[in-house]
Assembly symmetry: none
Homo-oligomer: 212 residues x 4
């Protein structure tokens, strides 16, 4: 007797070979992603999440202490997964300008192409400090590298990282809402590079170079 899984069930898929508890937990994470994607975090209820996961509400508490714990688990799982995919795609890119550009483009493409990811990410971003910290760190490394190499003409501090990060999030937001199309990543990357002091031509060239 095989039951069709809901459309997006990455974590459930990954847990397919694990114990029953891990599978249920994964289903809850997937369900939470779906709910977080269509609802303000604050108004997402445990009931809605368990309904989405086809479970009884009490089951939730077998797997998570409360909504806050779920939120951060979802956020960090998502971040880990996105990061993993990005690292894979950027493993052999060394040039800082390319890395910043490609990082932004990949992030937006990945987050917006997987059902629920982007929207859930943006929700979680403002609520989960750990997530912010992680993302910030990731970004900062490449920015600092670029400055060290003389590619960027800025001072790297918290403020700069937040500003550059805001461009990424905003582009993702626009992409998800349909304000922007598939070119959102390139557009965002180009703006970032300009902001960082890369000259307009190079910024354009790098940001729009087709991805292998």
């Amino acid at each position: 007797m095989s039951v069709t899984l809901p459309q997006s069930s990455l974590f459930a898929a990954k847990a397919k070979n694990m114990g029953k508890s891990a599978r249920s937990r994964a289903r809850l994470i997937d369900a939470a992603l779906a709910v977080f994607a269509r609802e303000r975090l604050e108004s997402a209820t445990i009931n809605e999440i368990t309904r989405e996961a086809d479970m009884a509400n009490g089951t939730f508490y077998l797997h998570f202490k409360d909504k806050e714990e779920l939120t951060s688990v979802v956020a960090l799982s998502l971040a880990a997964e996105i990061t993993r995919e990005m690292d894979e795609a950027m493993a052999d890119i060394d040039d800082a300008v390319e890395r910043v550009s490609l990082g932004t483009r990949q992030f937006i493409d990945i987050a917006s192409s997987r059902l629920n990811w982007g929207a859930a990410f943006l929700q979680a971003f403002w609520v989960c400090a750990e997530l912010r910290a992680e993302v910030t760190l990731y970004l900062r490394r490449d920015l600092e590298r670029g400055v060290a190499l003389g590619a960027f003409n800025v001072t790297v501090d918290d403020f700069l990282v937040e500003m550059v990060g805001a461009l990424v999030n905003t582009a993702l937001f626009a992409r998800i809402n349909g304000t922007a199309g598939p070119e959102a990543g390139s557009k965002a990357a180009e703006m970032q590079l300009r902001l960082l002091g890369v000259d307009a031509e190079r910024a354009h060239a790098v940001a729009w170079r087709s991805i292998a």
Copy 2:
């Protein structure tokens, strides 16, 4: 018997000479600003707002249909007020580059220096579509002007406006949190101008020029 008004009571002050109903309404708006500034919008309660306004909770519904209406009234009142102050400060600035720069700086300075405004604005921004629309429009005019005059080397579309707007909001956020100091406005403006294609030197010069 005269009671001292709470520190920030702009709208109450403006309504001093109006009818009693308008005055109560204004007090509620001020109170909501204060509450929204220190609390997530969703967790702000009518009770807390009316308590802050020194009113009975039931009174709230004499002035607003529901919580949502309050939110948007607060947001739009705030926007109108900020806009008014900005317009005043920028009345005789014509140059597009200057306008964008000064607009950003003024906005951040005003919103962060008036008690409660900045935080409440940022909360409302994500909840009230009308507010977003209004802000966007304001910004867009100057961007288009700059492009028309050849000062900016970009295409103005919704996406661009959102990205530039994001820089403003993010800088305001940093300013309020203490991540950034009083120079936040200049820093943000400089980044914007670079992003828009203004050359680095001019961007710096304009963004950091001392305000009259």
Copy 3:
């Protein structure tokens, strides 16, 4: 339009001339008394209490922070009321032997004759430390007096007071359950006096003397 009050509504009756809030609060206390009297404290629910009081459940929280607060308010209100009635009845009794005897008899008679009081008292006794402290104090005073006057041949310490108190509570319990009839008070008093070292004859005489 007059509504019949539920059978036992002492506190509601006392609050008849007070504000609406006080009246509702009093109704809740009466309702709690009724519920506590027929149910283990732990299994009494707020819902049941508000239903008994003909209120919506949410109303409860306008008047009490939580069940614990209600419990102690009920306990102490009850204690205050019983104490008041006892003091009235014993105002001009000086003799320690008489006081202990009469106190016990009065307590049992009062608590068992008012609907719900006895059962609620016994429940609250084990849960509310303040109540225990108050009752203990009341009893201790007369015991110490009796010892000082040479009427009792015991040492007054916490242990003694608890033991004597246990006799009172147990007699009340038996009275309420129907294990004992109206003579419970006299029987209990006689046992107490014997325990305290009063000779059997006097104990009997005092404990069974008819109350004015």
Copy 4:
């Protein structure tokens, strides 16, 4: 692989040579004793008990129909065990006065010296009618005997037995709480004897006689 049993595991020890089921059941009873001793009966959960017994929660229902059954089994097992030990210690005491005194002292000493027993007993006493009945019966026999022999100057009825029993329970309670020391048994016995009409001197002598 031998696992050390928790400190107090009387019933598990007794079941050591019985079938597996009996052993598990015994472990649950011991665990329940431990939990009941440190927690209000109502707030003791099946999960906590099985955890204490190092079992899966579902296992509980192989051995007991429900929580209520467990409670009464625990209560009656405990009573049986205490009774057994008391009978042993009092096998050759004939004199009624001695029996009542010694019974009380033994009961308090046994229940308070075995880990968990006293507290669990007191909890169960008020919840389990069978337990009350059994204890009452035990006590009553000696009381009746004493009256028949002319040693006690009272009428034995339910009320009397409850009152005398209350002294025992209260003394045990005080002993467990630390309000009373090891002399609690003697003190309680002395009070009982006085209450029953034994003259003060004899009561004292008997109640404080050192136990063989």
